[in-house]
């Protein structure tokens, strides 16, 4: 049995950067994914390397910058990610997804399959809501993750009955 995990990456307090956690919450609420670990990983920096250890495949969902319109999906392979230079790290935040993959490769713990399902962000300033373009992309991003999982031999089943996704950071204020 291959060990597979889906990670939602991003900061839920900064607009569209929440799209990673948002997508995995929807995925968990609507689908049963036998044998797959689903993790809202926040902004783990290099700790992502530690989460990779022991996995055969990792599917990541994150907001991306790319030459494309906000809300467009872009899927990247492990090779796509590591072909560029890593960034100079001044603080523990600079080692991002690409550096975590490279670090895992050096340490010999990189999953054979790493796929990044990227959603092009519109706004990443302070706030607990997705912009409309990114919100509209959520179903397609969920579908993309499901197809990545199917390609790995996973058989997703719709959750019956589905539950509401736990998007606690979007809930209203007291009073």
């Amino acid at each position: 049995m291959a060990r597979i995990a889906v990670f939602g990456i991003g900061n839920v307090l900064t607009g569209d950067d929440a799209v990673g956690p948002y997508v995995v919450k929807v995925l968990e609420a609507r689908w049963e994914l036998p044998g797959v670990e689903v993790v809202d990983a926040g902004t783990p920096g290099l700790d992502l390397t530690a989460y990779f250890a022991g996995l055969d495949a990792a599917i990541l969902v994150d907001a991306v910058k790319a030459r494309a319109a906000p809300g467009e999906l872009r899927t990247y392979s492990r090779e796509d990610l590591v072909k560029r230079s890593p960034v100079l790290a001044v603080s523990p935040h600079e080692p991002g997804l690409r550096e975590a993959v490279m670090n895992a490769e050096f340490m010999g713990v990189c999953p054979a399959t790493v796929r990044l399902v990227g959603v092009v962000a519109e706004r990443t300033d302070l706030g607990c809501a997705l912009s409309p373009s990114v919100q509209a992309a959520v179903p397609a991003a969920v579908e993309q993750v499901l197809s990545e999982l199917r390609a790995l031999g996973v058989a997703p089943r719709p959750r019956d009955p589905p539950v509401e996704p736990d998007l606690w950071w979007e809930k209203g204020r007291a009073g």
């Binding site: 920096g45 700790d47 530690a50 960034v87």
Partner: protein, 577 residues
């Protein structure tokens, strides 16, 4: 002829740290530290139920998980005057110590060791000689010649493939690299071994916190870990023993590998015990409360001025009014409207961006989003060094013992005599972090024992209801936590009425703000800035030495936006005019 250098990692992360230095004659003459994004997370909290604040603040930063959660519940509890069941204190203490160990290990091996270690030089190492050297330093079992030969082979394969991967931007062959090939090989081996230890520390946090990276077991009033030794669903003996096994393994690594490594590597760079002192005023707050009233702590707090190893002010507990009366933040050189210096409860931030600061140009009057915290109007340094110095000045036995061990290790390996005065330096900060980690490993073991003893007495209380005796009114509180990067404080103002309570104001004064903050109204430099002045810079195109000093603080501007720049080339922008 002086040159201006900007070190600005062009990352997908907003709000990262940028350093500008003016170099003249091979040394830094002046320096500016800036954070490039407004971190107004506090505004998200206004109007919310204070019992939910910790869930949000925990998300400020995914690297410093747990710390903003701990500080937040303590802040609200302090405002409401709650006493917290002993089990809850001890479970939190265990999470705090395990997280600290994880953080210190990751910082040394993955974020800063490569400032001192030349990975490519390890290719020339003789694994047999390296194993002999290691044996003379420590009894750590991961140093066999077979293990080291395997690491060297892996490194060779990696380099032969023409891919330096994660090491692409390293400073290989830089004249400031001084380790022998054998020590470089040992460091690379331990870099790899540290990953396993990092996972174990994470697992300990996950067992207690129900999850990582974001723990779920906290609550205002205590914790949510039901204690029932006979239930598989609750915190039971089996889970407690899992935690103990993990903590013991991490402790062994810290004491037999991490601390000796810092001594071995540090001794090759004796000059770096002279550079990088900067601001030698220090603040550290009491940590690991041992009773319900929070009147006793396992780690002491206090204030030191001007590098003197004597307590100018002893902080007996979190309710000491000294900090409430003497902490201010200045916005004189930051992107806000106004030029005030106010206490955290009184602050009313109005962000006002003063404009872009072009790389390699003189600093504008307002150059950062980070405020300048001051204690009695003076800059102070926070972090493991502050914690260790306050421990030494307080006569804290485990801190003193591990500091003595570290100084002894440097003498044994390098025949260099260090004193506590050498700790005011770039390498001193690394040494102090390792000393603190060794001390914290003992503390973790101690908290575990206290928790098991207390449960053994039949006490299973974990929570008090903050709403039970709540009267309408305005409540102010502050939550302190001596986090891995130093003193963290969350300041809250709560309004309670018959219907419930809500937050009127919330401010986080984070460790990296104390250290990375800018000049204040009087022009006095912040700790990062001052620590860089006098630093050597051998090659302005590769300002490795500036990174060494900045990394020694373990910077973390808590505002990561991890948008992957999937199609742009990302390199560090280090230009010279």
């Amino acid at each position: 002829m002086s040159k201006l250098i900007t070190i600005d990692p062009v990352t997908r992360i907003e709000g990262h740290l940028r350093i500008d230095v003016e170099v003249d004659g091979g040394a830094v003459k002046n320096a500016w530290s800036s954070g490039t994004m407004w971190r107004g997370i506090e505004t998200i909290l206004q109007g919310r139920d204070p019992r939910d604040a910790w869930i949000f603040t925990q998300r400020i930063c995914g690297v410093c998980t747990t710390v903003h959660a701990i500080a937040s519940v303590r802040s609200v509890e302090n405002a409401l005057g709650l006493e917290i069941p002993l089990n809850a204190q001890l479970i939190r203490n265990l999470i705090v110590t395990a997280h600290t160990l994880h953080d210190h290990i990751v910082h040394f091996y993955q974020l800063s060791a490569l400032d001192w270690v030349d990975v490519t030089s390890a290719l020339k190492a003789d694994p047999v000689k390296a194993a002999q050297l290691a044996e003379s330093i420590s009894s750590w079992p991961g140093n066999s010649k077979h293990e080291l030969a395997a690491v060297k082979a892996r490194l060779e394969g990696f380099v032969k493939a023409g891919q330096m991967g994660i090491f692409t931007n390293g400073y290989w062959g830089h004249p400031a690299m001084k380790l022998s090939p054998e020590v470089n090989l040992l460091a690379v081996a331990h870099y790899l071994q540290a990953l396993e230890i990092q996972r174990k520390a994470n697992m300990a946090v996950a067992i207690l916190g129900s999850k990582t990276p974001n723990i779920q077991n906290l609550a205002v009033g205590g914790v949510a870990n039901a204690i029932n030794l006979d239930s598989p669903a609750a915190l039971n003996m089996e889970k407690l023993y899992q935690v103990k096994t993990l903590i013991d393994e991490v402790a062994t690594f810290v004491q037999q590998c991490y601390l000796p490594d810092v001594a071995a590597i540090g001794g090759f760079y004796p000059d770096w015990f002279k550079y990088g002192a900067g601001v030698t005023n220090y603040l550290s707050v009491p940590e690991l409360p041992l009773d319900e009233k929070m009147s006793k702590f396992d780690i002491p707090g206090g204030v030191l001025w001007n590098g003197k190893l004597e307590l100018a002010h002893k902080l007996a507990g979190w309710n000491d009014d000294y900090l409430k009366q003497n902490v201010t933040e200045s916005i004189a050189h930051a992107h806000y409207d106004g030029a005030w210096a106010k206490g955290p409860w009184e602050e009313d931030d109005k962000p006002k961006f003063a404009g872009e600061w072009k790389h390699e140009t003189p600093a504008p009057d307002r150059y950062t989003w980070v405020k300048a915290p001051r204690l009695e109007g003076k800059p102070v340094q926070v972090g493991p060094l502050a914690c260790v110095l306050v421990g030494l000045a307080s006569g804290h036995e485990p801190t003193t013992r591990w500091a003595t061990a570290a100084i002894g290790a440097v003498k044994a390996i390098h025949k260099i005599d260090l004193t506590p005065a050498h700790l005011h330096s770039t390498l001193g900060r690394h040494a102090a972090r390792a000393i603190r980690a060794a001390m914290m490993a003992e503390m973790a073991q101690k908290q575990w024992k206290l928790l098991v003893e207390n449960i053994g007495k039949g006490d299973t209380r974990i929570w008090v209801d903050p709403m039970a005796n709540l009267k309408p009114g305005i409540y102010k509180g502050v939550g302190f936590h001596e986090a891995p990067r130093g003193t963290l404080s969350h300041w809250c103002v709560i309004e309670a009425d018959k219907k419930g309570m809500k937050l009127k104001n919330y401010q986080c004064v984070v460790p990296s703000t104390w250290n990375a903050g800018p000049r204040d109204a009087s022009g006095t430099l912040g700790p990062y800035e001052k620590s860089l002045v006098g630093n050597p810079i051998a090659d302005p195109k590769l300002p490795l030495e500036a990174l060494r000093t900045i990394h020694s603080f373990d910077p973390c501007l808590a505002c990561a936006i991890h948008t992957v720049d999937a199609e742009g080339d990302e390199i560090a922008r280090v230009k010279v005019l």
